[in-house]
């Protein structure tokens, strides 16, 4: 049993690391829009729990490593979570040290990931006694979490207010699906929220009056940093890439941020950067430290937000857990947070705490063995290849088709239509009101868990 789990874990971990190392190279691939559907696919195909967890962890860590490549060498954020690193990366590039920016970011990320897994599993074990009462109160807990996440989104109170109409829309569409298909849908909603911004852009492009809100552009000039050589070691030791002070700072910040699970990774990264950056005078030292600390914080917050709610509660009570990692919690018919007779049936109930620790660390190690040396050695060639070969049109086409296939799998034409509907409404709420997808994922759980209680109370 254990051997079987380990084999699955290693295999799926390698697959996740390779797939997401490749996706990370393509700048502009949104994390939620890529990690969420592909992890979902892995769950639906019947992968055992150990394989699912290792796939997700190895994939997320790998993507964070390779998306540092466009961020540092092309000056384009590799992902929304890489945006806070962009200014420091650009400044280091102006100092002629783009490779230093990349190496520090990679070393900091790997170090932080190794620290974050045991700490967040430990915190989760401490919080676990709260799980019982929390599950009973789940409908109210999600309502509070949705308000909290909404308040800290760019929309502030607008996002909080929009939770009600959005949740009602989800509940209404779900009732429609229940009547038509005899079962509620979830994947279709979830994909709709994840690709909302894309749906809105595509709708605007087809609108004669809306098209002009999409900025015009000529060919986008991409500046590839010059080749300065990255060194010959196959596995450059992160502890020799970072100075001792940098390693200690990164480790401490990663340790502290691994205990939080409600801040978004971007917010935590900006905060950690401000605190650390203000204390270093010399610009080179500050910038190179910030690359390690910020990339490390993104990694540790991301892992903590996934692992703490998963191990402690089994309920997706954080923006990452409800977004990119949602398939680990809720992927009907395989996993559900709404099992008959109450309670959850997902990785939380299928894996022991020690297994989360082992498979989580395994995922980080596999990413460290695949994506880390790859990004260290072939960064320049890989980013040049990706930006010359993979057109944005092809990328959007692939995702549109993937959404069509997966939502059709769940609910036929109705599932696809619901995905597009939620994408259009959610994407507009995101763009106009600043109601981010994290708030919308929370609102989905409000619709599923809290709204049914409305008539009774």
């Amino acid at each position: 049993m254990i051997v079987n789990g380990l084999v699955w874990a290693v295999g799926m971990g390698l697959l996740g690391a390779v797939v997401f190392a490749a996706i990370g190279l393509v700048s502009g691939t949104d994390e939620t829009a890529t990690l969420a559907p592909i992890t979902l696919l892995v769950v639906l195909l019947g992968t055992p729990p150990a394989g699912v967890l290792t796939f997700f962890i190895a994939g997320a860590v790998s993507k964070h490593m390779t998306h540092a490549i466009p961020t540092t060498l092309l000056g384009i954020p590799g992902d929304t979570t890489a945006v806070p690193l962009l200014d420091d990366a650009t400044a280091l590039r102006r100092l002629g040290a783009p490779h230093i920016a990349l190496r520090k970011a990679l070393a900091g990320g790997l170090l932080a990931a190794l620290i974050a897994v045991p700490i967040s599993v430990g915190i989760a074990a401490l919080l676990a006694p709260l799980a019982g009462p929390l599950k009973l109160a789940a409908p109210f807990v999600f309502l509070v979490a949705a308000v909290f996440v909404g308040y800290f989104s760019p929309g502030r109170w607008a996002s909080v207010l929009a939770i009600a109409p959005f949740a009602l829309l989800v509940a209404a569409l779900n009732a429609l699906a229940g009547a038509a298909l005899g079962k509620p849908l979830s994947i279709s909603f979830f994909l709709g929220i994840a690709i909302g911004p894309l749906v809105v852009d595509l709708l605007l492009a087809t609108s004669r009056s809306g098209r002009d809100t999409l900025p015009r552009s000529g060919p986008r000039t991409v500046w590839l940093a010059p080749d300065v050589g990255v060194g010959g070691r196959w596995f450059p030791n992160p502890l020799t890439i970072l100075s001792r002070r940098q390693a200690v700072t990164t480790a401490v910040v990663a340790g502290v941020t691994s205990t939080t699970f409600m801040l978004s990774p971007v917010a935590a990264t900006v905060l950690a950067g401000e605190i650390v950056g203000a204390r270093i005078r010399h610009p080179y030292r500050r910038l190179s430290t910030l690359m390690a600390v910020k990339n490390g914080t993104t990694e540790s917050t991301y892992l903590a937000e996934t692992l703490i709610p998963l191990v402690a509660f089994g309920l997706p009570l954080s923006p990452v857990a409800a977004g990119p990692a949602a398939a680990l919690f809720n992927a009907p018919p395989v996993y559900t947070v709404n099992a008959p007779g109450g309670g959850v049936h997902n990785l939380h109930s299928l894996l022991q705490t020690w297994q989360f620790l082992v498979y989580g660390l395994l995922g980080v190690l596999i990413a460290g063995l695949v994506a880390y040396p790859f990004a260290m050695r072939y960064a320049r060639a890989a980013s040049a290849w990706a930006s010359r070969t993979i057109s944005h049109e092809a990328l959007i086409g692939a995702f549109a088709a993937l959404i069509a296939v997966v939502s059709w799998y769940e609910g036929g034409l109705l599932g696809l239509t619901i995905s597009v509907t939620i994408g259009a409404v959610g994407g507009l709420a995101n763009r106009v009101l600043g109601m981010t997808s994290g708030v919308q994922f929370m609102a989905y759980y409000v619709a599923v868990l809290s709204v049914p209680l409305l008539p009774a109370s």
Partner: protein, 160 residues
Amino acid sequence: MPTTPTSRHGDTAQPRDPGQTHNAALLPDAEPAALPYRIVWNDAVDLRQLTLSIALCVAVGLPAFLVSRAVLSRVLAQPALAGGYALLIGLVGCVLGAAVCARLCPPKRALTEDAEIDRAAALAELERLGGTAAEFAALPRDTRDELRALGLAPAPEARS
């Protein structure tokens, strides 16, 4: 570049809607020929090629899924697994479609490689940011070594 600046959109000749002038990203319509693309999902695309690309990927991926599900649910001993396998085949279809699209629609990016790093400019930039010789002397040794290796040590230091 095989991209065609001739691809025009029907809206270019229209007067601008006053309601949209607040959009700072909107460039003047005076030079549409030089700006044939639109920013969709954070990068520049040709809208016609985008339409083609989405249509092609969906036309390959969705039928691949539907046909294989129909076939597999009859052939497999455990029809319950048909959906899962069909999903995988559909995904392969999406990727193949995208590979074809990547050939048909080349990226709208102009990749320019930076010239050799100009050490003098980099040093000047470091000074501007506050990296003076006095600050350099206050650094721990490992950081000073890093800067020396980069050729970013202050002038007298570099000679030693």
